[in-house]
Chain length 129, copies 2
DNA sequence: CGGGATCCGGCTTGATACTG
DNA sequence: CAGTATCAAGCCGGATCCCG
């Protein structure tokens, strides 16, 4: 009874990520997932092509990048612009909605990056025990 | 040459998540991971006990919650307070650092929740093709 | 170049059971 | 209550081959 139909009182929102059944949960996972956040972050600087993205997001495989882009496109965060030339020229860029979400993601990334000294210190303390 | 030693020019930060080797990448994944963000979000309202957390984060298993909490504790985001009573009484709460990060996470969650109508519309459009 | 399709090994995840 | 131990299932990710 704590989370049933996206109509819970945990927050005041119609869509509640804390409920398993709520579609916002899936979207959040795409956005925050292993590659989702980094892909959005990479696109925050402007449109990029597939292999540019691949180089920018260190460690991502073709398959995962492709999969991630599809998910982000389906959720309306990324726009795919394909020009039927030869060789093909495909660009990915953030939609207005995507930009909004990405601003939040980048803000989080910057926060984590900026506090890494504290994090590493905490880890050292934890591991010392 | 795009991402080697956390000393890249992609951003101006010493720690660069876009580099595989950078420790901030691992921390970001804990924070944004499937259960990390929801756990932090649950704790943003105040300290909670293990099973309270479990009920709050719908769908998480004992193992994953335990694992997630350990990771967050190790990274200095969550403090674990155990009182050696019987039955045991353990509380988890955000550290100052954790609260800072969680504020960003909650901001992201609120953003996604608030734009779910747009997301669902985009999905419907995408699937219609 | 920009991917889709497939196969496969391995880490991650989720039930379940058990302990203090 | 607050977890750990164990085990099976499954998804992740790499490699490979393919196409337009």
């Amino acid at each position: 009874m704590d989370a049933d139909e996206c109509t819970q009182q945990v927050t005041d929102f119609a869509y509640n990520v804390f409920s398993q059944a709520c579609p916002s949960r899936a979207t959040l996972e795409h956005v925050t997932g292993r590659w989702g956040s980094l892909t959005l972050g990479a696109l925050s600087g402007g449109a990029l092509r597939f292999n540019e993205l691949r180089r920018h997001v260190d460690g991502v495989s073709e398959k995962m990048l492709s999969q991630t882009l599809h998910a982000l496109e389906r959720n309306g965060l990324v726009h795919r612009e394909a020009r039927p030339t030869n060789p093909p020229h495909v660009e990915y860029e953030l939609t207005p909605l995507g930009r909004e979400v990405t601003d939040q993601v980048m803000s989080l990334i910057r926060c984590v990056e900026g506090r890494m000294d504290d994090v590493l210190a905490a880890r050292a303390r934890y591991d010392a025990r």
